[in-house]
Subunit: 111 residues, 2 copies
Amino acid sequence: MQRTQSAVQYTEEEEALGRIAKALGHPVRVRILKLLLSESCCFTGQLTDFIPMAQSTVSQHLKVLLDSGLIQGEINPPKVRYCINRENWVKAEGLLKVFFVSPVHDRCECG
Amino acid sequence: MQRTQSAVQYTEEEEALGRIAKALGHPVRVRILKLLLSESCCFTGQLTDFIPMAQSTVSQHLKVLLDSGLIQGEINPPKVRYCINRENWVKAEGLLKVFFVSPVHDRCECG
DNA sequence: GTTTTCTATCGTATATTTACGATGAACTAA
DNA sequence: TTAGTTCATCGTAAATATACGATAGAAAAC
């Protein structure tokens, strides 16, 4: 990307929402999160059983989710236990809620 | 991307959430949506006033949002009026709500 | 008709994402 | 010690995304 002119400044909210959404922006990562949200709550290893992809690819997607803060991983060699990061999860929920709930104006006559 | 082995099948929900999140996955698109959500509701033209980027780049981001269904554009030459697509907006809100509200288990002792 | 305004699209360059297999690091089990 | 398990990381290839300037098209203003 050429950045000759740009260097746009974004607000905290814009950055935060962008980051969260980007992490959610691949169906396999949605699936991973759903698995972590499931009754099992935490997962060690069996993730790849539910995702027909190379183990290295799954690992890469897990890293994206880790970097977003939405999940956390507890090393428990030779396994790693992945869980939702509750604190950040709630934050993300809040950000999205505020964003989406800001109502589309009823009195707007367009569409 | 090599797809020698893969061809993973995703559920409707996984695909839909992925698509929406991907569209939201850039701070400038978050800003555009916020502008469209603002009191003005619809915008014709002045969008670039709020976004210090090349006009062609803004147009490209608008296309991404259009393709996601989150916004719609009504051609009204030489201007175009962009608005939130209410129907799809509500759908997106619903999908995200269901996804995030599925509670992180309280009784889960990890994190 | 000519010019202006607004916006999409094209062409292009670079960065990032996505995917794979191979390898390595770390602990367990035999 | 040796072999097995689990997962991250490296190297690589191809697809997408991001950004720009230049150009084109379509109606409005003159």
